[in-house]
């Protein structure tokens, strides 16, 4: 489904991070409605220092997802996040394209 090259690159980064003793969380797009920029299965991996690889949108929601990933790394609880359309409130996190996505965030256990 998603590009094989992407999935391999992200898995390699996760494996490298955990191999180096870093704590990691993985975010995955699990549902999309309308014109979402990244398909179901797209992934973003985040380490405990806030470094990230991959994507779950065109850059619109990555910041919010990274913050949730850092919390998941701390408390170990999975999270299901909903992102909808942004309106004029420019500070709100959302998708300018008018789509909606659901992103699952989980801590990686080795």
């Amino acid at each position: 489904m998603d590009s094989t090259g992407d999935r391999e690159a992200i898995l390699k980064q996760v494996t490298d991070w955990t191999g180096a003793g870093k704590r990691v969380a993985l975010a995955t797009v699990v549902t999309t409605w309308g014109s979402s920029p990244r398909p179901v299965g797209s992934k973003l991996a985040v380490d405990a220092d806030g470094n990230f690889v991959g994507s779950v949108s065109g850059g619109c929601i990555e910041g919010a997802v990274v913050l949730q990933a850092l919390e998941a790394i701390e408390d170990g609880k999975p999270r299901l996040l909903d992102f909808g359309v942004t309106n004029e409130q420019a500070w709100e996190v959302g998708l300018a394209c008018g789509g909606k996505v659901q992103v699952f965030v989980e801590r990686v256990e080795t």
Binding site: M1, D2, G5, L11, T18, T28, T31, P78, L80, T110
Partner: protein, 238 residues
Amino acid sequence: MKLPLLQEAIATADAGRPAALATNLGSGLQILIEGSEKKGTLALDDAALAAVAAAVRDDRSTTIDTAEGKVFVEVFNPPLRCMIVGAVHIAQPLAQMAALGGYAVTIIDPRQAFASEARFPGVTLSTEWPDEALEALRPDRRTAIVTLTHDPKIDDPALSAALESDAFYIGALGSRKTHAARCGRLSEAGFAQNALARIHGPVGLNIGALSPAEIAVSILAQITATLHADRLKEREPG
């Protein structure tokens, strides 16, 4: 999530077998399903397992409702493959672009001066005749085949083998005139018109491409459009 389950799902797909990783979106419990084998802590009933099998068949990751809540089913299918016949100039950018697009690339050319490691560093090369090479590689419905030599001695056996496979995309470089002559030869060899219609020739989308890199863009764009034909249809305005 358990990293070993994700690693195994990807390794299984890379080895040519489909796998699915199901994750309960409430608890985070997971199960890896590979054919009839299961590994993990998430329990799924028969209805949910049937939905997983359908997702694998359709190559479409999806979220399903189960008695235990929502479950995300992620499908891991074997990599797409691109088999390029003719280790010519256009094959150099096309091999790189197809690899970036997620395809496992093989270049086939019996002319060893063309199919050399120096010209294609790091690319899988075969110097067998294309009919023999394709028989060994077994193109399937996740395979694209492109012929680039416009030498009938090399392209024709490749196209015959391609037409006998389930390849989702077959493209052949050459002008309209060259393509008409080629279809004439393949028709004499016994291929019906509807079989010949599977060949995209002249190859590539018409974007006015001139340079080898531009022609590679037009070919990869056409391969992509063919791969996602269902999605394109869904998006056509009313």
